[in-house]
Symmetry: C2
Subunit: 254 residues, 2 copies
């Protein structure tokens, strides 16, 4: 990928159907976001679910019903400017490059800050991020940790994992704590089974990464929790971005 492209240029290429690769691992200097669009009928209960589970459901913004633009992404159109979308309708899932044909004016779009946004800060501090080095989609795992339910929404927490050298552990905690709106500090360190994860090399979503000698697996709450809660609810129509194919905003990572 051409490293010179700005966030806005990426969004324009998406709109033209010419960019449909993962954004994760690329474009590190821009804040990236996951989206979920669902009918307004369910929006209060879902916003309440997010409010009650902020560590996982770290909202960057919520758009009003039918709205497709947001401030920190100039001239963005939510319907076309992400590389890939998933449409969920009556239990069926379809992947596509835009959602123009299925858009409804009663759709409320929730925009979630992503933990990839602190990856850049870790790298700047000299702490390698394995899924970026291995050019993989970040590994995500379902845990046995209950979220607080709200209306028809409930879920176990989904977490991301990064292997960290013991000698970098405190610095990693310190840095990620500075991103409270992007999941913040880890929710668990070291023992996958303690949070219900049986096999680190078989993630529930994304791809497995290598864990080396003298490294410990570190877990952060993930906005995939929000998607799981919607997928397991009674809603029969909603839209998300494809995993790792996020909205690239104009905002630079701090």
């Amino acid at each position: 990928m051409d490293k010179q492209l700005t966030a806005r240029e990426i969004r324009e290429l998406c709109r033209e159907g010419k960019y449909f690769s993962p954004t994760i691992g690329n474009l590190l200097k821009y804040v990236q976001a996951n989206i979920i669009s669902l009918p307004k009928y369910y929006a209060f209960d879902f916003l309440l679910f997010c409010q009650r589970n902020q560590k996982s459901c770290s909202l960057l913004e919520v758009l009003e019903a039918g709205e497709c633009s947001l401030e920190n992404a100039a001239k963005v159109n939510i319907k076309t400017d992400l590389p890939r979308y998933l449409i969920f309708k009556k239990g069926q899932q379809e992947e596509c490059l835009n959602i123009k044909d299925v858009w409804q004016t009663d759709l409320v779009t929730f925009i979630f800050d992503s933990s990839v946004n602190f990856d850049y800060s870790l790298i700047k501090a000299g702490i390698p991020v394995r899924h970026i080095n291995q050019k993989r989609n970040m590994p995500l795992y379902e845990t046995n940790i209950d979220c607080c339910s709200a209306g028809g929404f409930s879920s176990k927490m989904v977490v991301s994992m990064r292997p960290v050298k013991y000698q970098d552990l405190m610095k990693t905690i310190e840095i990620t704590r500075q991103f409270p709106s992007a999941h913040g500090e880890p929710i668990h360190i070291g023992d996958p089974e303690a949070i219900g994860i049986k096999d680190l090399f078989a993630p529930d979503y994304g791809q497995a990464v290598a864990i080396h000698h003298r490294e410990v697996p570190v877990f952060w709450a993930s906005a995939a929790t929000a998607k799981k809660a919607v997928a397991e609810s009674q809603i029969d129509f909603f839209i998300t971005n494809a995993p790792g194919h996020m909205l690239v905003t104009d905002q630079e990572v701090a």
Copy 2:
């Protein structure tokens, strides 16, 4: 007032109609909260307004439609356990001791953390709080600061004011910053006119307090902003607590 009463005993006295005084200034060691109940039809837009204006609209909890209890106040009944309520119906306002007769199962109750919750910490640190010493209702002012609107909700920010000695100023900022969910650090220091306040001795709500030599007026965002936004919206039925007559929770102020 009997200083020995627990939060739960206060709530029971409210329920029996035997406690109907302000809670502000009393019961300092318990977290106190303001409430707004409104029809679920408006709940998403209002929750979004709160989400976009967190400094003013500091939510402690949001209950589901019809729900009247919350975790950090054992056996509470929102309909009876506050000392005084205000019912707003078609432009009319009525004060009463409970809301049993007007309750609707579609009412969603928003519970806001109050800046009185850091008053106790200020006092413990040796910083006097004037409205408590003068046994007055905290002075509140409308400002010229715009909130972010959401749906049919928009408002100027309402602020509380405490006079602070210059020598205590940095310590006051430091302490209140530790209460991000109760409005946090000040939004302005020193020049009332700069934020649209013409006369400090004529607050828009509550009561004026004395300002002494070598003191500076310090302003914090107030949850009265949320109430103003609802009052100025199209909603023709909602309920709040009477100013200063708050829900007393079991949670002790940190």
